[in-house]
């Protein structure tokens, strides 16, 4: 009980703990590798009869965890496979996934539900190449009514890394009450209607915009939140990333954010706010709808161009809404962004074969149809199940939803966030750098060269 003894034992304890942490750190990394190796062997010998558990890692929100309700039926059909759902809130999704993998507890199936996209996972070598698995299994996308072009999105150099499961598109939602009040006719849902152009949209927006000192009376004609910020020039036909980006795993050899074409495209969008004054500033939107809110939902916007997930809440909006085609902006090929969520098997998966069985189950027509209802309106990738999706929204003509969806797919381009490497950093940088332009404190000519420089740096990381 004397001082020296106490001190020595404290020191020993400290040293012991440090050593323990260090040792387990090493062995953790090693064992993850061993396990992965061992497992490939086990999988090759075929999952015959032996009971295995696979983990599906997803976001902890109702529109994702509904898969838990699909498990009992699946397990009945596959008595040797147990499915466990592991979940995390959106904000913590990426950090938990990284920790699980580093800690040797890699889940088997997941998607890029966090900030990181497919290209990031691919370049970090986290994904299992499914090509052989698909061949061995005899999986054909036609049997699951998955369009060819969607399958190609997650194929790099002829190797497949993901099976699409949900498909969101860009569409226009409009507030019918505001159109009625301004005595305007509703915009078309047909993408082939050539009269429906960006300029026509601005014209109509002007008729609905009311700017008043009283914030309660102020309303705007249009909110053009088309895709992520770096993708917006594409809408007007300007291409900020070089063509090779899409074929080599998301690493562009060149970017053109300071080119006159790209700057002009951004200018057109900011003109909506500062010149035509038909769109709200970001401060106004925040004051009306909160940090992550949408002023359209508060009934303050006539037309809102955004992701089709906005439809999922449509049954709750306090006004009548309709869907329309995204107007033509000068790019004959692209008018919509596609957000196709794939299911992927992680490289460290212990049971890739069984995981693939589960993925196949999730894209069958019957399960995809069931998922629409269970998830509260997730759009299926299976075109046969899509018919049920079109009918899901109260007060909106299923024909309109169908036309808008099919047009959007025809004129769609897969979202950059899934396709470009280090995307979460690029996106953060864009939000920060464009901020002063959005508030009117800087011009695009000042900002774009800086962005061009920073994008180049981030891509090289």
């Amino acid at each position: 009980m004397n001082n020296r003894n106490r001190k020595t034992s404290a020191l020993l304890l400290a040293a012991g703990l440090t050593a323990m942490a260090a040792l387990s750190g090493c062995s953790g990394g090693k064992s993850a590798g061993n396990v992965a190796e061992g497992n490939h062997g086990a999988a090759d010998s075929g999952g015959s009869g032996e009971q295995v558990t696979i983990t599906h890692y997803t976001i902890d929100s109702e529109d994702r965890t509904f898969i838990e309700k699909l498990i009992p039926d699946f397990e009945k059909e596959h008595p040797n496979i147990r499915v466990k759902v592991e979940k995390a809130p959106y904000e913590q999704f990426d950090s938990k996934l990284q920790t699980l993998i580093a800690g040797g507890k890699s889940p088997d199936v997941t998607s890029h539900y966090g900030y990181g996209g497919f290209a990031e996972y691919y370049n970090k070598d986290m994904l299992l190449d499914l090509t052989d698995l698909i061949k061995e299994d005899g999986f054909k996308q036609e049997d699951y009514h998955i369009p060819d072009n969607l399958m190609k999105i997650y194929t790099v150099k002829d190797r497949t890394y993901g099976i699409p499961v949900n498909m969101y598109v860009t569409l226009m939602l409009y507030n019918k009450d505001m159109f009625d009040a301004a005595k305007l006719s509703y915009p078309p849902s047909d993408y082939e209607d050539k009269s429906w152009t960006f300029d026509k949209m601005v014209e109509e927006a002007k008729k609905m915009t009311v700017v008043s000192d009283d914030i309660a009376k102020t309303q705007y004609g249009v909110d053009f939140t088309w895709a992520e910020r770096d993708m917006r020039p594409l809408y007007f036909g300007a291409e900020p990333y070089s063509e090779d980006t899409w074929s080599n795993g998301g690493v562009p050899s060149e970017t053109h954010f300071d080119s006159p074409g790209v700057i002009a495209a951004y200018q057109k969008l900011f003109d909506l706010i500062f010149k035509d004054k038909v769109s709200p500033t970001s401060e106004w939107s925040k004051s009306v709808a909160g940090q992550n809110g949408d002023p359209f939902v508060a009934g303050k916007i006539g037309m809102s161009i955004g992701g089709s997930w906005n439809l999922a809440g449509a049954n709750d909006f306090p006004f009548k809404i309709g869907v329309a085609a995204v107007p033509w902006g000068g790019n004959d090929k692209v008018r919509s962004t596609l957000f196709v969520d794939p299911l992927m098997i992680l490289k460290d998966s212990k049971h890739p074969k069984e995981a693939f069985e589960w993925i196949k189950y999730l894209v069958t027509t019957e399960v995809q149809e069931k998922s629409i209802e269970l998830s509260g309106g997730n759009p299926p990738v299976n075109t046969e199940a899509a018919e049920a999706y079109y009918k899901h929204f109260e007060g909106i003509d299923p024909q309109d939803v169908k036309k808008v969806y099919e047009g959007a797919v025809k004129y769609g381009f897969e979202s950059y966030n899934h396709l470009i490497t280090n995307y979460s950093q690029i996106n953060d940088m864009f939000i920060n750098e464009l901020q002063p332009v959005e508030t009117g404190h800087k011009t695009l000519e000042e900002v774009m060269p800086v962005i061009q420089k920073k994008v180049t740096e981030i891509i090289k990381r």
Partner: protein, 292 residues
Amino acid sequence: MSIVRTANHRPAASAHRRRIDPVKAASFITLLITTFLMLLPLFFMVSTSLKSKKEMLKFPPTFLPESWAWSNYRDIFDTLQFGTLYKNSLIIAVLTVIGTLISSGLVAYGFARFRGRGNQFLFVLVLSTMMLPYPAIMIPQFVLFSHMNWIDTFLPLIVPAFFGSAYNIFLLRQFFSTLPEELFDAGRIDGCGELRMWWTIALPLSAPALATVAIFAFIYSWNDLLTPVLYLSSSEKFTLPVGMASLTSSRFRIPPWHLLMVASVLAMLPIVTLFALAQKQFVEGIVLTGIK
């Protein structure tokens, strides 16, 4: 002295029929306005928690609910398994507090009362652990606990508290150092061992500091999101912050703010209660240990 001065002031003031001191009045009004501003978010939290889903989306927002949706307070139990979440959070927080008080108290006592070679060095070493941000130790710690098969149990959330934390050790050490040596001499004469002196002399005299540490430990554990997210994987083991985060997790849906506010109101209760109970000690603790 101060009594004398007020006594001198009194007759003068009453002679002038209670004149209002402008400085006092101004500071009172400032305080009143600040209080009002500080309470406004709390007011909106409670008010929103009683609004219907449709009303919650309205702009400009209504000050008081148009129709009082008391059912929200029932619905939260259906939407989240609120009772379970609450219970889990409480278990973890209470055990964390106990662990923190025992371990940090003991270590701080050691640092405050014993002098010897390396003492300073060890203390600096302990304090330097405060410099490590959590993300830096996240993965090694996860690997460690995963080897101990502690994943999906409460252990990684509770056990570390039993090993002390630098901030609390520092806080308590400063307090223990102020205790007069004579007390311990007296104890020694009565034949107390060090542990006994810690328990019967140091701890009872340190109630304010212990209350402070307890409140800090409770709030930290109660609000912690990342650690439970990392270590827990079964829904029935989730804590309150994890459940609440799931309400805003959908990228595709408008978050049910009204239910989230219900959860926030209910989540606030233990902290408000704890603070009310320990307020006297807590304020004293802050004054005595000199933290602001």
